[in-house]
């Protein structure tokens, strides 16, 4: 384990038993994930739906155990923590603030809940902490007695953030934190996450399909495809000179609100294969413009290139 590694994932595999068209089958959602998240960094996990990014986040949160391999937080297996100890270290923020808040609790009760379950502080002390947390995330004081149904989407996401932060965790796992929000509200939440990260030296795992958001917030990026990390490295480097053809396609697909833009013509066409029957060899070969006979047979191992790693037999050239 590297000294600054806060989260370490080694050879993690996750299988689910599913029933597809009446037949029992094994769905391998993760296929040998190696990943390190360093203390204080924002690591983004990107990829399309079904690539396994949410499964990976559930392993990191200790909600699920890997079928093989290890996930450790501060050197200790994520599932070896008891629930309260783990919750003091790592907290999730989910995509949909409409379903992640109990509609029958007031905002004050929701934010105080982590303190209550831990039996921390008296009534008055908790009240002060809730008020502090609400101020930090920009919620007006009077909303303490409101119910989630009375709040806008942006306000609800602020409640979720306040609840996550009140126990002073070190790690936040944000799963698509803004994709359920309107555009004019998204940026406020992104600003808040950036501000809180700096103030509390948080380590953040950001799961997103929005590469513009990832570029804005993340220090490092891991690109997932069909249960594998196909490329990882510093954000600037990945965006400037991706080595994997899938990363290139994701970057080409970013639609930017600028004048005189044309719709991108992607170099990949076929669709995402079923994770039940991953293609042999490199899982990306059916969509890859550079695929040849080798790619159809041999799964490329990850190769290092300074601080970036990628899995490809025919990587894109680095700029001279």
């Amino acid at each position: 384990m590297k000294p600054d590694a806060l989260i370490t994932v080694e050879g993690a595999t996750k299988d689910y038993i599913v029933h597809a068209e009446g037949v029992r089958a094994t769905l391998r959602a993760l296929r040998g994930i190696d990943l390190t998240v360093r203390r204080g960094e924002v690591l983004a996990i990107v990829g399309e739906s079904g690539c396994g990014k949410t499964t990976l986040s559930r392993l990191i949160l200790g909600i699920e155990e890997p079928s093989a391999g290890h996930v450790s937080l501060e050197g200790k297996a994520a599932t070896d923590y008891d629930r309260l100890a783990r919750a003091a270290l790592i907290q999730p923020i989910f995509q949909d603030p409409y379903s992640s808040l109990n509609p029958r609790m007031t905002i004050g009760q929701i934010i105080a809940a982590p303190l209550v379950v831990r039996g921390r502080g008296g009534r008055r002390e908790r009240h002060t902490q809730v008020m502090d947390a609400m101020r930090q995330v920009g919620l007006a004081e009077h909303l303490r007695n409101a119910y989630p149904g009375q709040l806008s989407g942006g306000q609800r996401q602020r409640v979720a953030i306040a609840r996550a932060l009140i126990g002073e965790p070190e790690i936040l796992v944000c799963d698509e934190p803004t994709s359920a929000l309107d555009v004019s509200v998204q940026s406020q939440i992104l600003n808040l996450i950036a501000e809180l990260r700096a103030r509390f030296s948080l380590t953040i795992v950001l799961i997103s399909h929005n590469l513009a958001v990832v570029h804005h917030l993340a220090d490092r990026v891991a690109v997932m495809y069909l249960g594998q990390i196909v490329e990882s490295g510093p954000t600037e480097k990945i965006f400037a000179s991706p080595r994997h053809h899938y990363t290139r396609a994701l970057l080409d697909a970013i639609l930017v609100p600028e004048a005189h833009r044309r719709l991108p013509r992607l170099t990949i066409d076929a669709e995402f294969p079923s994770p039940l029957t991953p293609p042999p060899g490199c899982a990306f070969h059916p969509r890859c413009p550079a695929a040849d006979a080798v790619c159809r047979e041999i799964d490329p191992p990850p190769v290092g290139d300074g601080d970036t790693r990628f899995r490809c037999h025919h990587p894109l050239p680095t700029p001279a």
């Binding site: 806008s152 940026s187 958001v213 396609a249």
Partner: protein, 309 residues
């Protein structure tokens, strides 16, 4: 709003701004409890107001087709793709069974489906999201409509598929010449895909104009605020605070006694406390604002005289 033949108009706005309702009003499909009041809604000069159900049948699906956001809920899960395509064809086209099947296969090929015979016999759940949306587009094209309304057609799709579906719509438009109304909340989708934009806020069009003009020189403070709040790799400084629009959208039942944006505006004046008309800036560009931004400068306009003009 107006749309020329073969043109793409993007109707942009946040949830609840009325963008879908406005577009669906063209088809006469408003919720049962809603009352549609309009001075004029016309397709190629023929009024669509007060049509009888029988008259609508010759228009919906035939002259105006709609592609919805979620193809899983707009395709019937109990019927094969062939059943659903045939239903539209039988309703509107005078083709015998063999010619109709040939037409279906041709359309599926046109929307980029590689094994159309197989797909025809499959059910919606057997297709991926991207394929289902391609089938929806093929069904929309069945009767060579003059207008296609696409309501968030790519919102439910993955990013790489989104770009392909938008590209497909643009290519098909070039070939078939239909007018396209693209309803979206995503200004990035608009940039490459639309000729003109209408930005909606709280039930009104607040700015309209050519895409490049509106994106590069937004006149209305709402449009400006939206554009500043979106991170753009290479343009926005990484990690620096993004722009944002303070406050929240007014409730839909709030009375229209002032500019709808007044409470969130960065430059309101007392004159904004009356309803503001959509006023032209130049023949192609208009904004519902008495202090629009023109050429980088805030310009004062007088509501009364401008409205009368």
């Amino acid at each position: 709003m107006t749309l020329d033949a073969g043109e793409t108009l993007a109707v942009v706005g946040e949830s609840g701004c009325g963008k879908s309702l406005s577009a669906m009003a063209i088809t006469g499909l408003v919720p049962p409890r809603a009352k549609l009041i309009a001075d004029r809604i016309a397709l190629k000069g023929k009024s669509l107001l007060g049509l009888r159900e029988r008259e609508w049948r010759g228009i919906r699906g035939r002259r105006i087709a709609v592609v919805f956001q979620d193809p899983m809920t707009s395709l019937d899960p109990c019927y094969t793709i062939e059943d659903q395509m045939r239903e539209i064809g039988r309703q509107h086209l005078a083709l015998d069974a063999r010619a109709l099947r040939a037409r279906m296969l041709d359309l599926l090929r046109q929307v980029g489906i590689s094994s159309p015979e197989t797909r025809l016999s499959q059910y919606p759940h057997q297709l991926s999201g991207g394929l289902r949306q391609r089938v929806m587009i093929a069904i929309a094209l069945m009767c060579e409509p003059e207008l296609i309304i696409a309501d968030e057609p790519t919102t439910a799709l993955d990013v790489t598929i989104q770009a392909q579906v938008l590209r497909l719509l643009a290519d098909l438009q070039k070939e078939h010449g239909f007018g396209l109304i693209l309803i979206t909340h995503d200004l990035g989708v608009v940039a490459g895909a639309a000729d003109r934009i209408a930005v909606m806020y709280a039930g009104q069009v607040v700015e309209s104009g050519p895409t490049d003009t509106v994106l590069s020189a937004p006149a209305h403070p709402y449009t400006e605020g939206l554009l500043h709040s979106i991170p753009v790799p290479g343009r926005t400084a990484r990690g620096a605070p993004l722009g944002f629009i303070p406050g929240v959208v007014p409730r839909p039942d709030a009375p229209h006694t002032a500019c709808g944006f007044i409470n969130r505006c960065s430059r309101p004046v007392s004159a904004c406390a009356t309803p503001i008309a959509l006023m032209p800036i130049d023949p192609a560009h208009a904004a519902r604002c008495i202090r629009p931004c023109l050429g980088g400068q805030i310009v004062e306009r007088h509501p009364a005289t401008e409205t009368a003009a």
